[in-house]
């Protein structure tokens, strides 16, 4: 409640004070992170702690709109797509520079996009697979496509197309692009990017510093360039409880990834604003759908009725209460968070219905006392809670759920090899488009439909068609069809969506974490 009130107050006070508005400026924000960055580079960022920081150091040609459903001008002041959908034209903003003041030119754009779509170096190149060539003439940028690509504009507003300085890369030491990137990152400094900040300090696994880019092109509310802050100091504190104590003792201003069990308590603290930022994060559990398990024994979960039954028998609201203290909602689309473009919203997905579940189990003829293994992440309190709850919820189905706790890399290996029955998993969109998440969860060639081994020819064909469909209505229909097929087949245990829980000191304003997880500091202020 408090946070909404504060927001309302902020809006009112802004409106009243508008003419003689003096913008809070200066100061350094201290930020406690759950995990550290390794290499913040538009193409080598592969883990969330890297990806979510790219936008602070590197600007993109376009930017996501405030509602996240379209794009607005970024480094390019305007953009257009040809009628055949195969050419994108953009005009680079006049006078933009990198953080060290050197001009950002079309050459840098061509270099950055070529680098990002090179399959041999970028793990994200697949997202830019439709691009045939990129060229620049003065401020005019032209992107030619092999085929129409409905996601191309979103992609130009995504971290991996962040613009880097060609000159800095040319001058950097190293035999390969990756070595150069690592060398540039290790030395820090303002030359390589044009984002609101530049890297000015880094200690692997310990701390990191961002300093304000004084040449940033966007203006704040006071007509002077953003960002308002002088910089941001990051400290890595993996222990949840310690991170919160750090905030409570006033040693940091922001603590991210607050366990949901702590949210009510922090919400009650007047010195802290407990933010629950809307996200595209979904928590689900892939179910092995193969006819036999990895050890050759028959797989009871190969029967779609059993998979549907466990979905019906799972009381999502109870789970949300237990794990998230109510701060979440059941998944409504089987393939994506509700906030993702093109998600259908048919209401509760597999609403709790024990009778239906038991009927399905009887129909499938599942033997009483069938043992199913639930693989969880070792040391995760949430996973242990989920397991304990599911064990009790599924007992009436005659399922004997047993746990297997493993660490991250082991779970990843099991997902790949199919040596699991059901395991916990989660996802946050990296791109503001459903193509990526649907490809991951359902399209067999990507990763065996998130390791489940689910292979549906109709679904795969729909997905392939949707990748080149630029008619928005047709594409929306394809996505609606895919979601219907997927919900019916239930290759996942559909669970819930969670927000990003970030606790922020009352002295801080304007810090945002986007639904994609990006940390946005450019309009943040801190009053000391």
């Amino acid at each position: 409640m408090k946070r909404h009130l504060l927001l309302a107050t902020a809006i009112i006070s802004t409106a009243i004070a508008a003419p003689a508005f003096s913008q809070e400026r200066g100061g350094v924000l201290n930020f406690a992170r759950y995990d550290g960055s390794n290499l913040i580079d538009p193409i080598y960022a592969d883990r969330n702690p890297d990806i979510w920081m790219v936008g602070s150091l590197f600007d993109t040609l376009l930017r996501p709109s405030a509602d996240g459903n379209s794009v607005v001008a970024g480094l390019a002041e305007d953009h257009s797509v040809s009628d055949d959908g195969k050419t994108v034209s953009l005009t680079l903003r006049d006078g933009v520079t990198f953080a060290d003041g050197t001009p950002l030119t079309g050459e840098d754009v061509v270099f950055s996009l070529d680098r990002a779509r090179e399959p041999d170096q970028s793990p994200w190149s697949g997202l830019l697979g439709s691009i045939e060539s990129v060229s620049a003439e003065g401020n005019a940028i032209t992107i030619n496509l092999n085929n129409p690509d409905p996601t191309i504009l979103s992609m130009l507003a995504t971290f991996t197309t962040g613009i880097v300085s060609k000159a800095v890369f040319d001058a950097a030491e190293g035999a390969t692009d990756q070595e150069k990137s690592a060398a540039i990152f290790a030395s820090g400094g303002p030359g390589v990017g044009s984002g609101p900040f530049y890297l000015c300090g880094f200690e692997q696994g310990t701390s990191m510093k961002f300093c304000a880019n004084e040449n940033y092109w966007r203006d704040g509310a006071d007509g002077k360039p953003l960002p308002y802050l002088e910089g941001v100091n990051f400290q890595i504190i993996p222990d949840d409880a310690t991170r919160i104590l750090k905030l409570q003792s006033g040693e940091v201003d922001v603590a991210e990834f607050i366990p949901f069990s702590r949210v009510p308590e922090l919400d009650a603290d007047p010195a802290i604003n407990m933010n629950l930022f809307p996200s595209t994060r979904i928590i689900y559990s892939p179910i092995n759908t193969r006819e036999t398990r990895a050890d050759g024994s028959p797989n009871p979960l190969a029967d779609v009725r059993v998979r549907q039954a466990v979905n019906y028998a799972t009381n999502k609201d109870a789970l949300i209460g237990l794990v998230l203290q109510g701060a979440g909602k059941p998944m409504t689309s089987p393939l994506m968070a509700a906030a993702t473009p093109l998600s259908t919203n048919p209401g509760p997905l597999y609403g709790y219905d024990m009778e239906k579940a038991q009927a399905l189990i009887a129909e499938a003829g599942l033997e009483q006392g069938t043992e199913i293994t639930f693989t969880t992440l070792a040391g995760s309190a949430d996973d242990s809670t989920i397991f304990a709850a599911l064990q009790q919820m599924w007992a009436p189905l005659g399922i004997n759920l047993v746990v297997e706790q493993v660490d991250g890399p082991t779970r990843g290996a099991k997902n790949r090899s199919g040596e699991f029955d059901i395991h916990t998993y989660g996802w946050v969109n990296d791109v503001n488009d459903p193509g990526q998440v649907v490809g991951w969860l359902g399209y067999t060639p990507t990763a065996n439909a998130v390791g489940t081994g689910w292979d549906n020819a109709e679904f795969n064909a729909l997905y392939e068609a949707s990748q080149t469909e630029i008619d928005p209505e047709k594409r929306a229909q394809q996505y609606a069809d895919m979601q219907a097929i997927y919900a019916e087949a239930a290759p996942l245990l559909f669970m819930y969506e969670t927000p990003f829980a970030v606790a922020v000191s009352a002295s801080v304003d304007g810090y945002v974490q986007t639904p994609l997880g990006n940390n946005i500091f450019e309009e943040a202020t801190v009053s000391r």
Partner: protein, 313 residues
């Protein structure tokens, strides 16, 4: 001269030890499920990406070739490049090691300061209330998991009373003493308890020994007996114990450093394991083995100087 010879011999004997350590850790990490390629590229990477990464890291070479490279490179002082940190392993370790060493020595210092005098008090009052009280208090400290007691210390002494900072490690010597106080206390709770126990029984053992009883009966003052026999015996047993538990102490920092957000090698090791960072795990293990071996050697030298029965052989 004999001592020098002994040292040389011990150093020579460390070679097979380290070789064994290298074999064990090399085999162990490669048996761990999951591989560094997944840790690097994430769960979403394609099989082709993973294959390319394995190729780049040399993980597709035959095991024996990989091991040969590990051994020969190590001899040349090259521990390889950390996958997680994207930097040479030696550099990563040398950046982090001083913090852990500082924390460990600090904790040992604190422990001696606390446990030494109290062990004497307890031993001299054996069976009476000061003894019972001291032992109970230490036992409580010893039985508290670090991830629990650490959080209690942080919650009350740091976050609420604000006497100490929550985590971090400071830049100057003084700042370090201040920043690392709570983590040291957490470690010292364990160390001081075992030192106290050990010291107490060592003192009692001497006091009960017939030659001491005899000395007492002859009317030698207690102070003299304590100084001559007890102190020496106590010192030997404490140094032996500390030397023996140096490994335990240092691997105990693994959890302590995580709870207190101290960037030392303990936390680094945990991260390395969870990232399947083979070179870093190997490098850290080897560094650890070298450190512990050296401490053992020093312990034995010290012991032999004080106790002629412990011949240097």
């Amino acid at each position: 001269m004999a001592t020098l010879q002994y040292i040389l011999k011990r150093l020579f004997l460390m070679i097979p030890t380290f070789f064994l350590v290298m074999i064990i850790i090399f085999v162990l990490v490669r048996f761990l499920p999951g591989d560094p390629a997944i840790a690097i590229a994430g769960d979403r990477a394609s099989d082709a990406d993973l294959e390319a990464i394995r190729e780049r890291l040399g993980l597709n070479e035959p095991m024996l070739v990989q091991f040969w490279l590990f051994v020969t490179n190590t001899i040349q002082g090259d521990l390889g490049s950390s996958i997680l940190m994207r930097a040479p392993v030696t550099e990563v370790i040398f950046n982090r090691l001083p913090t852990t060493a500082f924390l460990t020595l600090y904790a040992v210092g604190l422990s001696l300061l606390i446990a030494g005098p109290l062990a004497f008090v307890a031993a001299l009052n054996r069976g009476r209330w000061p003894d019972v009280l001291i032992r109970t208090v230490f036992q409580v400290g010893l039985s508290m998991p670090v991830f629990y007691i650490g959080l209690i210390l942080l919650t009350f002494l740091a976050a609420q009373l604000r006497w100490f900072p929550v985590g971090g490690y400071g830049d100057t010597f003084g700042a370090r003493l201040y920043h690392l106080f709570l983590p040291s206390v957490a470690v010292a709770l364990y160390t001081s308890a075992i030192i106290m126990r050990n010291l107490r029984s060592a003192i009692i053992e001497v006091l009960d020994a017939e030659y001491v009883q005899f000395a007492r009966a002859k009317g030698l003052p207690n102070r003299l007996i304590l100084g001559r026999h007890v102190l020496r015996n106590a010192l030997i047993s404490t140094v032996t114990l500390l030397g023996l538990s140096i490994g335990n102490l240092m691997s105990g920092t693994l959890v302590t450093e995580t709870v207190f957000a101290v960037p030392g090698v303990g936390r680094l090791m945990l991260e390395a394991i969870f990232a399947r960072d083979y070179p870093l795990i190997q490098g850290l293990t080897l560094t650890f083995a070298v450190l512990v071996s050296v401490v053992f050697l020093l312990t034995d030298l010290f012991q032999s100087t004080l106790d002629p029965r412990m011949r240097l052989t």
